[in-house]
């Protein structure tokens, strides 16, 4: 079974027809993962819609264009007035009032197969509106995400796939640790309404966690959703080990993918896949090898 088919099957089981691919950093293989799921969905004749939460690469200063996706007719995608290709011409459904550095967000439909740049609004609230509209226009919405934009996931019942790449950290172990911490953060269990708890309305920060640990807090620490948890790496690992962090609206993280080849370095693919699978306890796929990693 192809990787895309497996990821699609995992994501669609019990989901609401939305898949978020969230990378732990740049060049984590998100776009390759999105592409694999997209082609699998197109093969199944699903009406697919695509959006991107990621920050424009141009704004990161590296000047590189956002990777384009080869899209098939019938696909709906989010673009912006300034980046919609003049050719092949698309069907333009709606120009929204949401703004990006590339102009107003718009909804377009592919009429001619070709490479298209998928983009999205810069805010989490905007992304939620965009997803709501895409869901009306499609059977499946795929969102190319970013780790610093997980707030866009708040309240979603969609599936989350975490992408890890060799560009993220210097070693396999470090990357696996970061990926595990992100997954632990996103997979925070639902809270127990019968058990005592402390509700955290705003961000659960390192400072706040430090205070709870110092006070040997044993009650549930309840956040509304995992995107409120502003912890990374070792701080996150320690918090999850020592506190009972829970959330009201859990996310559904279904799989991880690995991209062992990056411009900066390469990881040994099998070792990397195994390490990420162990750290996340998720079905893990190597999108470059076209195989299940572990």
């Amino acid at each position: 079974m192809r990787v895309g088919d497996e990821l699609l099957a995992l994501a669609k089981a019990g989901g609401d027809g939305t898949i978020f691919v969230v990378g732990i950093g740049r060049d984590a293989g998100k776009t390759t993962t999105v592409r694999a799921i997209y082609f699998a969905a197109v093969r199944k004749k699903l009406r697919v819609a695509l959006a991107s939460v990621g920050r424009d690469r141009g704004t990161l200063g590296d000047g590189a264009a956002k990777p384009r996706l080869w899209l098939s007719p019938g696909t709906c995608f989010v673009s912006a007035v300034g980046v919609l290709p003049q050719s092949p011409a698309c069907r333009v459904f709606r120009v929204s009032s949401l703004q990006t550095p590339s102009g107003n967000i718009l909804f377009a439909g592919v009429e001619t197969p070709g490479p298209y740049e998928v983009t999205g609004p810069p805010t989490a609230a905007g992304m939620r509106d965009v997803i709501a509209e895409l869901r009306e226009r499609s059977d499946l919405v795929i969102v190319d995400g970013a780790v610093d934009r997980v707030a866009a996931l708040a309240g979603t019942r969609g599936a989350v796939i975490v992408a890890a790449g060799a560009a993220d950290s210097a070693t396999v172990a470090e990357t696996a640790l970061d990926t595990g911490a992100l997954v632990a953060r996103l997979r925070v269990p639902g809270f127990d309404a019968e058990a005592p708890g402390i509700t955290v309305e705003n961000a659960l920060t390192e400072t706040l966690v430090g205070r709870f640990i110092a006070e040997r807090e044993s009650r549930q620490i309840v956040v509304n959703d995992p995107t409120q948890i502003a912890l990374r790496g070792r701080a996150a690992a320690e918090a999850f080990a020592r506190l009972r962090i829970r959330c009201r609206r859990p996310l559904r993280v279904v799989a991880a993918t690995v991209a062992s080849a990056a411009a900066e370095r390469q990881f040994e693919p099998v070792d990397f896949g195994t390490a990420v699978a162990n750290a996340t306890q998720l079905p893990t796929f190597d999108v470059y090898r076209g195989a299940r990693a572990a």
Partner: protein, 534 residues
């Protein structure tokens, strides 16, 4: 909606200008542009102001709530095509999103026309240019202005170029697909990505032909499929076909842009008319919602109304489950207003200001009847205008400077609303200042209402005297000291209506009773009553 010189910022806030602006704000970008140009009518414009207010009332009556809401929904969603029209006018080739917005704009204008057609209130918005642009952009479209696609029907050459492109793509895909399938089969995989990893340990023999190694690592190869000569040739043909199709598409856009350019001025005029309609519809919604009537705009600087309401307060009271007591006032010069604390003197002044404000902008008035002149200046003096404590100036000094400004501007038609002017100086001198002010205002034929607790001012100045009727009876403290409860008790006992009275009928003070009601201790209240009796 501009304040212009009609009123300064503190006065505007006190008499509900911002509230009114929000209440009559249009919804579309065109409406906003038109609204931003709205200025108060000035003396001499009485007929125009009267006509505008009547037109709004007629519009509110002619269009039922369902139709008004349908209109509002269209106006809320109408795209702003000003930038596209400006671009077309200077020869830009417009983009497909711009064509969609123009298409939606033209369709919206047609829908607005059909909604108001039988009301007899508006000229049709759709002129020949709007129809021309709408028709041109509808070519080959499969739906009702909910999308735009540069369809083949726009141009035969476009269809041909696209067919060539499709053929070239199919040829290239077939060749590349075959090549990729061959490589994938050789590697025992189902498909290949743009780049793919082959593990050395999983490789039986050499890498298949047509695989280009990007990077070689001890345990794997990072690869990409390499095109053979036939595929490369097909790719070149595909790229050439892409360029031809792109050129054909751009030529169609250029032709459509010329269609827009030739009609840009008239389409812009239709947009401006839409803006004016939006402004009128917003005012009609306001008039209907608040039961407003068209005022009679007088050539004299006068202000009179029956059953008028100060809408910003009425809205607040409604939230608290209470009702506003509508007021009647006839003001044709300078007058004095007296009444108990919390009796509604300030609200009476605000109602005067609000009614005058509506008239100034040709808006219907929240009253059963109103007649007012067009004032050059509406000014608020005294309490509420500047509540700062500290600074270089005392509150009295700030009041005096505000009055000085009013005198220096010498607006020919002035409406002055004074709330306890000179309350912070000695009663003796405060009264003298008020009497002098009333005399000055009368000499200038100004319209004014000055609220005060000081006695004998109206009689001494010869001004008319209005009074809030005040407490019907002294309410007894219920023991429930919650402010909502106290206000409810007070509201039930207070007659907020205003009536013209003689000096002898001036209301007696209710301050100690109110202090009692508000929860001051009984010993203190008793001491106050003893002091009054002495």
């Amino acid at each position: 909606m501009r304040r212009s010189k009609l009123l300064d910022r503190p006065t505007a806030e006190l008499i509900g200008f911002s509230w009114l602006v929000d209440a009559v704000a249009p919804l579309s970008a065109y409406g906003e542009r038109s609204f931003s140009e709205v200025t108060p009518f000035l003396a001499g414009d009485e007929s125009a102001a009267r006509s505008r207010a009547r037109r709004i009332v007629e519009l509110a009556a002619a269009l039922d709530p369902g139709r008004l809401e349908a209109l509002r929904a269209l106006l809320r969603d109408v795209p702003d095509v000003a930038a596209a029209l400006a671009g077309a006018a200077i020869g830009d080739v417009l983009s497909d999103p711009a064509f969609l917005e123009l298409r939606r704009f033209c369709a919206t204008l047609a829908r607005v026309d059909s909604l108001v057609a039988d009301s007899g209130q508006f000229e049709p918005l759709c002129n020949a240019a709007v129809r021309g642009v709408g028709d041109a952009l509808a070519t080959g479209q499969r739906d009702d202005a909910t999308s735009f696609y540069l369809a083949d029907a726009f141009d035969d050459g476009l269809a041909v170029a696209r067919q060539r492109r499709a053929d070239a793509h199919a040829e290239f895909q077939a060749l590349r697909g075959r090549e990729e399938q061959r490589i994938a089969a050789a590697l025992d995989r189902e498909d290949l990505g743009d780049e793919f990893i082959v593990m050395r340990g999983e490789l039986r023999g050499d890498l298949p032909a047509g695989v280009h190694v990007i990077r070689e690592a001890p345990t794997y190869f990072l690869c990409r499929a390499q095109y053979d000569e036939a595929t490369v040739t097909a790719l070149q043909r595909r790229d050439a076909a892409d360029r031809s199709a792109a050129q054909a598409e751009e030529e169609v856009r250029a032709r459509l842009s010329v269609v827009v350019r030739e009609r840009a001025v008239e389409v812009s005029a239709a947009g401006a008319a839409l803006g004016e309609l939006d402004v009128l519809v917003a005012a009609a919604v306001y008039a209907r919602r608040h039961g407003c009537t068209a005022p009679d705009i007088s050539a004299e600087p006068t202000l009179e109304f029956e059953q008028a309401r100060f809408l910003p307060l009425e809205e607040q009271l409604a939230l608290a489950g209470r009702e506003f007591t509508a007021l009647d006032v006839r003001l044709d010069g300078a007058a004095v207003l007296t009444g108990p604390n919390m009796g509604g003197k300030s609200v009476c002044l605000q109602t005067c200001g609000f009614v005058a404000l509506c008239c100034a902008y040709g808006l219907p008035v929240p009253a059963t009847r109103a007649r007012a002149g067009l004032f050059d200046q509406i000014a608020w003096l005294g309490l509420g205008r500047d509540e700062r404590i500290g600074g270089l100036l005392s509150s009295f000094a700030r009041e005096v400077l505000a009055l000085k400004e009013v005198f220096e501007r010498a607006a020919p038609r002035l409406l002055l609303l004074g709330d306890e002017f000179a309350r912070t100086t000695t009663p003796h001198e405060g009264r003298a200042l008020l009497i002098a002010l009333l005399e000055r205002l009368r000499s200038r034929s100004a319209c004014a209402m000055l609220a005060t607790h000081l006695g004998g001012v109206a009689a001494a100045s010869g001004a008319r005297h209005f009074a809030v009727r005040g407490l019907r009876s002294i309410p007894q403290p219920s023991g429930d000291e919650r402010i909502e409860q106290v206000l409810a008790t007070l509201g039930a006992s207070m007659d907020y209506r205003v009536a013209e009275v003689g000096e002898a009928e001036s209301a007696t003070g209710d301050a100690i009773a109110l202090a009692d009601l508000l929860g001051l201790d009984r010993d203190f209240i008793a001491a106050a009553y003893r002091a009054v009796a002495q």
